[in-house]
Symmetry: C2
Subunit: 268 residues, 2 copies
């Protein structure tokens, strides 16, 4: 049954697990095959061509598990590679950018939206272009926050240093009168509290992971391949250091990891 086929989810490393977390919560019967490119993380500072090449290899790997759909759970890969991947695939594929951007476009009252993300995602201008499809009058202010990923990976989720770095990165956004802020990197929901405190209660934070799970469910239902009952099976693959990955995964997922395997991704 095509319904029972797994959903392929991939990211540059552990960040995409925040998307898996939302999929598990909102689509609890869907089987998942996850790939985290921990040997080549981070993507955020790498070039478009490199990110496209890496993403293609990962899609080839995921297809060996006969996935019925693919979620690009990485903002940088969604920004750089989604269109190329989509043109070459005969199964549905969605990224995290479009769902997040559309919700932000609908949420803003004063037509001023901020986006925080990696250098690659900000440089691509993708959030602005999707938001402008919805409403060209919205002003979009982007800000790259390169240290957030290493700070999260170091576990400094609630910490004076993370506060200080966040204060610097967010200053131009605080001064800009935005009323909506997109957490445009899958790591950022993990420091949502810090970001929320600094931006204040009047600024709506948009988590694309959450919106992506909603879009995915709608897409699967439309295609009539949504698995609505039965126990789900989760398989995790990484290109390096599965132990480190499993630790991180177990700390943020609502289920225990059954297993994680290593894959020589550059052979795909």
């Amino acid at each position: 049954m095509l319904k029972d086929a797994p959903i392929g989810v991939f990211d540059s490393g552990v960040g995409g697990l925040t998307v898996v977390r939302e999929i598990i919560r909102q689509l609890p019967s869907e089987n998942i095959v996850y790939f985290g490119d921990t040997a080549r993380v981070p993507y955020g500072s790498k070039s478009r061509d490199t990110v496209i090449q890496f993403s293609r290899q990962i899609v080839r790997f995921l297809r060996t598990y006969d996935v019925k759909a693919i979620v690009v759970a990485c903002n940088t890969a969604s920004a750089y590679a989604l269109d190329t991947l989509k043109a070459q695939l005969d199964i549905p594929i969605i990224g995290v950018v479009r769902p997040g951007a559309l919700v932000a476009a609908r949420a803003t009252r004063n037509k001023k939206v901020g986006v925080i993300a990696t250098e690659g995602t900000i440089k691509s201008g993708i959030y602005a272009s999707v938001i402008h499809e919805h409403d060209p009058a919205i002003k979009v202010l982007g800000k790259a926050c390169p240290l957030f990923v290493p700070l999260v990976e170091e576990g400094l989720l609630e910490d004076a240093v993370t506060d200080e770095i966040a204060r610097r990165y967010l200053k131009p956004l605080q001064e800009s009168d935005i009323d909506t802020l997109v957490l445009g990197c899958t790591h950022y929901p993990l420091i949502r509290k810090t970001i929320g405190r600094l931006m204040g209660e009047d600024v709506t934070l948009v988590n694309p992971a959450y919106e992506t799970a909603i879009s995915l469910k709608r897409l699967l239902q439309e295609e009539n391949i949504y698995r609505s009952e039965g126990e789900a099976r989760y398989r995790f693959f990484v290109s390096d250091a599965e132990e480190r990955f499993s630790q991180f995964a177990n700390s943020i997922l609502p289920v225990d990891l059954v297993w994680t395997r290593m894959v020589p991704i550059d052979e795909y």
Copy 2:
């Protein structure tokens, strides 16, 4: 003439340029071919097998330029891959660990040496084992400092945040009565001032980049392939984003970069 053949130098990214800087200063006539693996940086958090595989590909690439010797200008790659590479090569190859470790072993008076490095280098225990070859009575205290590399790459060389992170990482070393500290990652000499201020004047800082250039000169002289005169030629290759690399290189090298090219390293 074999003397005119270039020296191959490689690193996971830009850190190895601190080694190139020392080679240019101390061996000003040597031609250099540098490779920085910017598509797959960082190595410090990756596994032994992955680092060995990446290093092998890079050596194959460097040999296409008929290098007469190779310098592994990355502590993590020196720790994990040097022995494997050496066993397979018919040209001299040196890493940054041994020269730094031996100088530290000779410098300590109270037989207490600290080593700060990436997770991979610390986990490998390589500094302790080389120091113990020299003197098994020396106590070696290692401390991984995972945020130093991203802080340096973000340009926060003199900054309150770098100070605060350094204070936390160095605390156990400050309390330990070491009199010598090895900067066991090629990025760290760039925040030498901060580290020196926190450790105090009584602690000798050892920069393996400096010691490696001395060892390299000695090795080339012994092999009778040292190039002592003539203008040198420098060529730089990276696996991603040459612009970003060139900027960084121009900020720390004593010469202007003539050119940098991109190489699809996983095809080697």
